[in-house]
């Protein structure tokens, strides 16, 4: 009885809370009339949803981030490393998750499904069903005591079911929210009224069996759907024996096997007997490109992730011999081709073209028998220790039923053919793998684009529902002796596998000033941040050293943590014992350990001398500059303008449009020229955009928030533009072929030339009895070792169009790999269906184009027929020429202070997580300037770049770094050397006081002045000479110890 009473009392309390919450949520302020709601709901908390949420919060909106599982993170949180950089997946995702968790404008709602979405853009109502967690998130500390005592074992979903966890558990160490969850269906207490062990052990009193499923309605301005994908169920392809043979695993399981935090701690061993794997096989396209399971599309990522997994497996254990069985190697993205070529040439990954038909098991050894055709076409049967099935990506649940968007035949969200983040339903945007299978960079790009599009609709309500975070007051540490805390990160096995971490901790403890030293498995995880705050508090730390990875990615996170612990964030120093140590000295663990110790010593010595710094602020000129008026540039400009910002658009040619002027229709058959006309018109009509045609950029100065750009027209007239952000959309070019008789014979064309004739319904095409297309012209070669990404789809598209125009025309496509990723595969199938013949040739046996008796003849060794020559008399030969980098980039790069890659494309700040940013603040990139890509990808990237620029422009002021120079007036001799040297004109000479003075918002912290200052008066904060001297001494003395 008493219990029941308690229940109702508690129940009431909750009901009330819900009501109150509802009031806030149904928070469209009546007084603002028709103004939109300044909140967005993001459905799906994978990397896409996380990115969209962070962007939105940054753009001034309240965010509800909804996930159907108990933690955000999605599949990326389960990955070990990511291609093509092999970066630790969790290491780059975790900081983002932490950021979500600590951002007060993002409310994470887990275990929730969308029931319905109603309303108009600006005023949407989302009904959610929230399942009970049975643990109070606010109370749970994620300590795990309950898990240890829970009697019910379940397969651990985080480890893809490879090992067991308990009914109550924290989903994974870095989970957000970092709280336990109870699996209601299997909990003994819930089902049988027995047990309750967790209640007994939980010191926090977090278990709450009273929680019930509930429905809630949220009022938001827009909805972004990013529910990702479902991994294909491999047991449906029965021939591979998944679920029957112990040593056949899916790629997702293998990803966990590779994971240092996985069930085998990253040891590549077999499930059947725990033996180390030597021979490892990957079978591609399992559940993709397969109409028999209803998945006609290509999953886009599995060719690359298999390559990655093969590489990582070899890295873990160099004796492993990986073999990848594939149809076409789809290495189409930025730097993918090099990754693939290196994997084969340098790291010994074996690629075998052709899929295995089925898998057999040897009973005694549990080895697996795979039959394949070797290079000579002979069938061989080979034994493998472990087989990984490269499973495809299937559409997620809830797109149609809950979110109410139209889906295509495969269940993925139907999208606009020029801007794929627009779903069929106004007010609902879609991004990530739920729109089409895609990798992380493309997901992040789309997520950013979706955030930008949402902001476009809601910018009238920007900042209306935002709460600002107050940091605890900073503790005054001046006058305190340095009390350094040193945290040594294992990074799973990334560091821990090569560096003796306990020895480093021990060493750190012995260093002067160090009052606390500990190791962590993942120093950047959410729970670790909480822990750091605690130890800072407990041990009264006033300096923090984290020895982990590169400060370039992780310093901001730890600084933020320190700040939230009430310590000035500049009292922090990092020792990079991963990129600069464990990873580069993998074969000499002893030396690596010693080096790690020295690096820690250097950091500690510097940290002891750090001083609190203050940040400055500078105003933002709320205008953008876009360089390049192609599809990407125009879209970027329009998006910025539609979000309410003035834009300068600089185009060197006399006309807008760029390369797209050569493209007549896209793969959906949509008219590109019509689209382009509409775009140009919209740009020219848009009052907020000022177009500078026939202008070039000649000089850029200033910094984020305050750039000054000088543009010049053909006649030498110059205009100075002042703006807060720059978007680089300078595009690329078309490779000019010299091969295959192009230019010599009028019947040899490029795809663009053919497309033009098709669009013009050129009569001569009907007379062409046979057209032969040749792929990869100018791409995937020594000078341009990249795939141009667009030409396979382009060829297939044009082949189909030719067939449509004249069905009797025979079309042959000579290719190396057909790279019709994603839904482009449908087009490839349609082309085959229409009778287009595809002929594969090997890299080292290229086709030849000859003139025989006044006619064109193509001879191609058919690789599928043992290189037997096929002779094709052709009326037309069409070359699929590649994309080249814009030579102008070379001149722009230094002006903008941004890097390019070896091929001349711009290099983004981070391939995975910052695909449109540069390391230089306030400068962004999109379109072909970044890498080859299709129009719709360029448009999406343009929207993303615009959103990123918007996040600069929408702020009144920008907080500038504390790392700036100061001139010690006492010491300054007034020589003015620094004034002349400063590249940013940040130093002026105060004639009255006869000293140099630094303007902190102009100073970029380069330190040029400090090195030159004869009096030693100019000092770079955070990099003062005395601090660096300490580092040098520490480095030298460490060696002498």
């Amino acid at each position: 009885m008493a219990e029941e009473k308690k229940t109702t009392a508690k129940g009431k309390a909750r009901a009330k809370r819900v009501e109150e919450k509802d009031k806030v949520k149904a928070g469209k302020p009546e007084s603002t009339g028709g103004a939109p709601v300044g909140a967005v709901m993001v459905v799906g908390g994978g990397v896409g949803g996380i990115q969209a949420s962070l962007e939105l919060a940054n753009l001034g909106y309240k965010v509800y981030l909804v996930d159907s599982s108990p933690s955000i993170g999605g599949v990326m949180g389960m990955l070990d490393k990511t291609f093509p950089t092999n970066e630790c997946s969790m290491c780059i995702l975790s900081p983002k998750m932490v950021e979500v968790a600590s951002n007060i404008n993002i409310e994470v709602i887990t275990l929730a499904d969308v029931l319905s979405v109603e309303g108009e853009p600006g005023d949407m109502r989302v009904r959610l069903r929230i399942r009970p967690r049975y643990v109070d998130i606010d109370k749970c500390t994620g300590c795990g005591d309950c898990t240890a005592k829970c009697p019910v074992k379940i397969p651990d979903p985080y480890n893809a079911g490879l090992d067991m966890t308990r009914c109550i558990r924290v989903p994974f160490p870095q989970a957000v929210p970092g709280a336990a969850v109870i699996e209601g269906e299997v909990c003994r207490y819930i089902n049988k009224g027995k047990c309750g062990n967790c209640v007994k052990v939980c010191q926090a009193g977090a278990i709450d069996f009273e929680q019930k499923e509930k429905e809630e309605i949220y009022s938001v301005g827009m909805v972004i759907a990013s529910p990702g994908y479902k991994p294909f169920d491999a047991s449906r392809k029965t021939e591979y024996g998944y679920g029957v043979y112990d040593n056949v695993v899916t790629s997702l399981e293998f990803e966990r096997i590779l994971g240092a935090n996985g069930p085998t701690q990253g040891h590549v061993v077999r499930p059947s007997d725990g033996r180390e794997v030597k021979k490892l096989a990957f079978v591609q396209c399992v559940g993709s490109r397969d109409v028999t399971v209803g998945n006609g599309y290509c999953s886009s990522v599995c060719c690359m992730y298999a390559t990655k997994q093969a590489l990582i497996a070899k890295e873990h254990l160099s004796s492993i011999e990986p073999t990848i069985f594939f149809i076409d190697m789809r290495a189409y993205g930025k730097d993918f081709e090099k990754y693939y070529v290196n994997a084969e040439a340098k790291f010994g990954v074996r690629y075998v073209r052709g899929l295995v038909s089925g898998i057999r098991e040897r009973q005694r050894t549990k080895n697996l028998l795979l039959r394949y055709a070797d290079e000579d076409g002979c069938t061989r049967e080979e034994e493998f220790d472990l087989v990984v099935l490269s499973i495809g990506l299937e559409a997620p649940c809830g797109l149609k039923e809950g979110l109410g968007v139209e889906v295509n035949g495969y269940g993925f969200a139907e999208a606009d053919s020029f801007l794929p983040v627009l779903s069929s339903k106004p007010g609902v945007l879609v991004c990530g793998a739920a729109q089409e299978p895609k990798d992380i960079p493309d997901t992040v790009t789309q997520a950013t684009a979706a955030a930008g599009m949402a902001s476009q609709a809601l910018h009238g309500a920007r900042n209306t529902l935002l709460t600002r975070r107050e940091h605890p007051p900073e503790r005054d540490v001046s006058g305190e002796e340095p009390r350094v805390g040193a945290i040594i990160c294992r990074c799973g096995s990334n560091i821990g596998g090569f560096v003796d971490v306990p020895a480093v901790v021990e060493y750190a403890r012995g260093l002067p000033g160090v009052v606390f030293a500990e190791e962590r498995l993942y120093a950047c995880s959410q729970d670790a941040q909480e822990w750091i705050r605690q130890v800072v508090d407990e041990h009264k730390l006033n300096r923090l050293v984290v020895a982990s990875c590169t400060p370039r990615t992780h310093q901001p996170l730890f600084r933020e943590t320190l700040q939230s612990a009430g310590v000035n964030k500049y009292l922090f120093e990092m020792a990079n014992i991963r990129e600069h140590c464990s990873w580069v000295h993998m074969k000499e663990p002893e030396n690596a350990t010693r080096k790690a110790q020295y690096l820690v010593k250097m950091a500690v010595e510097k940290a002891r001398r750090l001083e609190p710094l203050a940040e400055g602020e500078s105003e933002v000129i709320p205008r953008g500059l876009v360089i390049g008026g192609g599809v990407a540039g125009m879209n970027a400009a329009l998006n910025l303008a539609r979000s309410g910002f003035q834009v300068y658009l600089v185009e060197k040619e006399g006309e807008l449009g760029g390369l797209a002027r050569n493209i007549r229709f896209n793969r959906d058959g949509a008219d590109v020229q019509e689209y382009l006309r509409g775009l140009v018109e919209a740009v020219e009509r848009e009052e907020l955009i000022t177009v500078f045609k026939g202008h070039r950029v000649v000089d850029v100065s200033g910094f984020v928030g305050q750039f000054k750009t000088l543009v010049r027209d053909g006649e030498g007239r110059e205009t100075l533009l002042e703006h807060g952000a720059v978007i680089v959309a300078t595009g690329g070019g078309q490779y000019q072929p010299a091969e295959y008789r192009y230019g010599e014979d009028g019947h040899v064309l490029t795809q663009w030339e053919l497309e033009e004739r098709i669009a013009e319904k050129d009569g001569s095409l009907k007379e062409a009895k046979r057209v032969v297309m040749i792929q990869c012209v100018g791409s995937r070669e020594e000078e341009r070792p990249y795939c141009s990404k667009v030409c396979c789809t382009e060829a297939v598209k044009n082949a189909l169009a030719l067939k449509e125009l004249s069905p009797s025309t025979e079309v042959f496509v000579l290719y190396r790999d057909i790279r019709t990723y994603g839904f482009r595969e449908d087009l490839y199938r349609e082309a085959r269906e229409a009778g287009v013949v595809f002929v594969r040739f090997d890299d080292d046996a290229r086709p030849e184009v000859r003139e025989v008796a006044g006619a064109l003849q193509v001879r191609v060794p058919d690789a599928n027929l043992g290189n037997e020559t096929v002779v094709l008399n052709a009326d037309l030969v069409v070359l699929s020429v590649g994309v080249t980098a814009n030579p102008d980039n070379a001149e722009l790069a230094p002006m903008l202070k941004v890097p390019r890659n070896a091929e001349g494309f711009f290099l983004e700040a981070h391939m995975k997580l910052r695909p449109v940013d540069f390391a230089t603040d306030g400068v962004f990139v999109c379109g072909l300037a970044h890498a080859p890509k299709s129009i719709e990808e360029s448009v999406a990237q343009a929207a993303a770049a615009a959103a990123r620029a918007e996040s600069v422009l929408c702020k009144d002021r920008i907080v500038t770094e504390g790392v700036v120079a100061v001139v010690d007036a006492e010491r300054c001799s007034g020589c003015r050397i620094c004034v002349e040297l400063c590249p940013f004109e940040a130093i002026t000479y105060d004639a009255d006081r006869r000293v140099a003075v630094v303007n902190p918002s102009l100073c970029k912290g380069c330190g040029t002045c400090t090195a030159a200052c004869t009096a030693g008066a100019s000092r770079l904060q955070g990099f003062r000479s005395d601090q660096i001297f300490e580092q040098i001494e520490a480095a030298a003395s460490a060696w002498w110890d």
Binding site: T238, E239, G241, V244, Y245, T292, G358, I359, R360, E361, R362, Q363, R364, L369
Partner: protein
Amino acid sequence: MKTYSYYPGCSQLSSAEEYGESALRVSEKLGFRLETLPDWNCCGASSAHMTNHLLALSLPGRDLAKARERGGDLVVVCAACYHNLKKAQAEILEDPSVAARVERIVGADPRFEGRIVHLLDVVAEEVGLEALKEKVVRPLEGLKPVSYYGCLMVRPRGMIENDDPDNPRLMDDLLSAMGAEVKKWSYKTDCCGGSLSLTRTDVVVKLVNRIFEAAEEADANCIVVACPMCLANLEMRQSEGRLAFRLEHDLPVFFFTELMALALGMEGPEEWFAKHLVDPRPLLYAKGLA
């Protein structure tokens, strides 16, 4: 007693007489009757569809017409017949123009809409594994069989309804229920090359040998089949393989129905076993099963 139409297939009247007989008798023992389709004809085996598609529809078409007349489900025991009848049925029911053509050729309506089921499925459905377990009087202890379905029973795709087409389990479960220690292996649905047995014996011997090697590796002491063609080919060609590939010994091959009769304590098995080219009796004696 529930009665099914029954299509025996040619072999059950001659080389696989023991299969036909055991099938009928075991069914009766388990409480259902197989009533032979009147005046059935050969389904055409591989030769028909390998050379003439229309023939491959019409020969079974005539049988289907008869089954239609009788109504109810049709039970088959030969994998090849099962395959041919089912494929023909599917094509006839799917495409009205095909049905019409076959009807014209056969002179009767071939649109049989009942189920075509293999005896294995009938046993599982009619009796159930648990009930079967209780009926066992002589558990097949000591027998370590691998089950072999051959290729035709599981193809084309979707042919097998409630089982895994590449790793069917029904026969395994049945044998386990009767007390045998069933061995796992991956060759259940491999083709044994039956249709080339006479013409390209060299090729077939290699295939059959693979199967026996795999069975030995799986530590099996016999192979159990549900098809007369498989049994004939496996028995006929394994001795040659043994010579050519130096295998240790011949492995007996059983029809699953024979073992059921044995386990159910019925009369007849001894007589049937005597007909096998590879005599299974020494094995059974050694295990105290006969």
